[in-house]
Structure formats: structure tokens, C-alpha cells
């Protein structure tokens, strides 16, 4: 009976996916909006990665909103889980002691991997304007490194105060950069307030790398705070 049901589900999935594959026909030309973006971003903004160019310039206001949404999530998680933590606070020592220590292999693996993950995150963030990557992705990688450290060592304590300070500073600087764009260039978060530089170089595309770094720091801090909230 169970096997028949499994086979039925598999066949149904197969039908759904085949119909999707059959119905798919590739567009050989871009839509007009996409075409104008593909042309405009390298020309106006000097960024080879069109998507980061759009996200941090034309749609930078949306990005700011997304970061705000992430901040709401962090605040909400803190509100829900922070209260239950306080109740348990009567015996925080006990929680740490009874928590099972992770094995030596995991601990030393985490010690080796954490710096590598941090380097990789920096690479992703700093190359956002040149190739795939950017602030959000790099921030998520930072948070995954923090998660690894938390998993590897129960005694590892995240400095929440430092994280929230850094996060707020990054957010304020992001908005200030936007206002600087308003003053020195065409509008809020316009990247052309700094020289565009050579196309495809490391320091190029105006303010996009700076915005990317600020975004990465902010997202990394927020996600790390969320991860820490889930600790028992």
C-alpha cells in the first residue's frame, strides 16, 4: 500500500516536471526593461555585474527596505525567544555544563574553517560589483561561520552588544552614503559620487563596493544575532 502510494507520488512529480520542461521555451531576446538595464548598468554605473548594479543603485531603496525587514525579523526573534531565555537565566551555568561538548574533531575543524569562511565572505562581498556575490550573500556566509563556531563550542559567547553596535553603525553609514549620493550625484544612493574607475577593476563602480561592504556587515551581524537567539 505504502509502496504504491510512493510510486504514485513519484509519477505525479514526474508528470508535473515533464509538463514544465515541455512548456519551457527559452526567450532568445531580452525583454525591453532587461535590455535597457543590461545596457545601462555597465555604461552608467561601471559595474560588470548587472544585478548588483541594479540592487545597489537603481533599486537601492528596495535593498534598504529589505535590510529593514531583516532587522524586523531579528527584533521579532529577540522578542519571542529572548523572553523565554530570561526565565531560564536563573541557572545559565547549568545549561552550559549540561550541554554536550562537541568532539575534538569538530572543534579543531571549526577552528580551521572559521577563518577560511571569513575570508570567503570577504571575497564574496568585495567582488559583488565584478562577479556573482554581494552584501547579502556575503553576510549570510559570515553568519554561517558564526553558526559553525556556536555549534563547535558551547562556551563560545557572542558579544551581542558589539554586534548591535556594528550593525547600527553600518546601517547609519549606509543611509549617510545614500544622502551623500543625493548631494554629490544624481540622487539617493547614486553610486556616481565616487569616480567610476576602470571597468572591471577591484576599485571601480563608484560607491557600489562601499555599499556592498556596509550591507555585508549589517546582514552578517543581524543573522548572527538571530542565530544566537536560538541558543538554548
Amino acid at each position: 500500500m505504502r509502496r504504491a502510494f510512493v510510486v504514485l507520488v513519484v509519477v505525479l512529480f514526474g508528470l508535473v516536471f515533464t509538463s514544465l520542461v515541455i512548456a519551457h521555451n527559452e526567450r532568445h531576446s531580452l525583454r525591453p526593461l532587461a535590455e535597457s538595464y543590461v545596457k545601462l548598468v555597465p555604461q552608467e554605473l561601471g559595474a560588470p555585474n548587472v544585478i548588483t548594479g541594479i540592487l545597489l543603485t537603481y533599486r537601492a531603496f528596495d535593498t534598504l527596505g529589505e535590510v529593514a525587514v531583516l532587522f524586523m525579523v531579528a527584533a521579532g526573534v529577540g522578542l519571542v525567544l529572548g523572553a523565554s531565555n530570561k526565565r531560564r537565566k536563573s541557572s545559565p551555568r547549568k545549561v552550559v555544563e549540561t550541554a554536550r561538548l562537541s568532539s575534538e574533531i569538530v572543534q579543531s575543524g571549526a577552528q580551521i574553517l572559521a577563518p577560511l569562511i571569513a575570508i570567503f565572505a570577504a571575497y564574496i562581498i568585495m567582488n559583488g560589483h565584478r562577479s556573482a556575490g554581494g552584501g547579502f550573500q556575503g553576510g549570510a556566509v559570515i553568519a554561517s561561520g558564526v553558526l559553525l563556531l556556536v555549534l563547535a563550542s558551547t562556551r563560545y559567547r557572542i558579544d551581542l552588544e558589539f554586534l548591535s553596535m556594528t550593525e547600527s553603525a553600518a546601517g547609519v553609514l549606509f543611509v549617510l552614503t545614500g544622502i551623500a549620493g543625493l548631494i554629490f550625484a544624481g540622487g539617493f544612493l547614486d553610486n556616481r559620487m565616487l569616480p567610476l574607475g576602470q571597468f572591471g577593476a577591484f576599485f571601480s563602480a563608484g560607491a557600489i563596493p562601499i555599499l556592498s561592504v556596509l550591507l555585508g556587515v549589517k546582514v552578517g551581524c543581524e543573522l548572527s544575532v538571530i542565530i544566537d537567539r536560538f541558543r538554548a
Binding site: R100, S103, I105, V106, G109, L113, L116
Partner: protein
């Protein structure tokens, strides 16, 4: 020539991946399945990335870094998973003869 070597390496890697999948299906309990999945897929990944390196020599540094990363992370993660499975007493197959981890733990407990 380089392309031929690259293709053979990728094919070998695919065979190892296939055997990993087969092991997942055929092995009797969680631990043996885990070791089939980890070892075979680590080697398969390495071979496929090496083969790609023959195809695109300009990627070789990045591919080497990825290989190192996989070699470091894959065993550690499967070790952590297997240990966690042992901790919550997921049963082993009846044919298991040695359980070194349980023996060590019992010795340590009686030593206390």
C-alpha cells in the same frame, strides 16, 4: 589529450558518486549509509573537480581550493552527524561487532 584525461576523471568521479547513491539505498543502517555517502562522494567530488581542472587549466587554483574545502568539511560534518546519531542511540545493524565509541564511554563512566 588533456580533454580525454579530464573526461576520464569526470567519468570516474561520476562512477564514485553513483556508488555513493547505491550505498545510500543498499546499506543496512544509518552509520554505514553515512560512510558510503561521505567517502565515495568526497572522492567523486575530488575526481570531478580534477577533471574540470584538465578542461579549464585557468580555473585550477580555484578548483584546488574547492577540493581542499571539501576534503576538510565533508569528513568533519559526517563525523558530527554520526556522533549525534550515536548519542541519540540510533540502532546499528545486527551484524555490527565492534562499537568503540560506546566501549570508550562506558570505560570512562566506570573510571569516574
Amino acid at each position: 589529450m588533456a580533454e580525454l584525461i579530464g573526461s576520464i576523471l569526470v567519468l570516474l568521479g561520476a562512477i564514485f558518486h553513483f556508488s555513493a547513491g547505491l550505498g545510500m539505498l543498499r546499506m543496512p543502517d544509518a552509520y554505514t549509509r553515512m560512510q558510503a555517502g561521505t567517502k565515495a562522494s568526497t572522492l567523486g567530488n575530488t575526481l570531478i573537480l580534477l577533471g574540470l581542472g584538465f578542461y579549464h587549466p585557468e580555473w585550477s587554483l580555484k578548483l584546488l581550493i574547492i577540493i581542499c574545502f571539501v576534503l576538510m568539511t565533508n569528513p568533519v560534518s559526517s563525523h558530527a552527524l554520526a556522533r549525534a546519531a550515536h548519542m541519540i542511540r540510533i540502532p546499528m545493524t545486527r551484524r555490527t561487532t565492534v562499537d568503540a565509541l560506546r566501549a570508550t564511554r562506558q570505560r570512562r563512566r566506570s573510571g569516574k
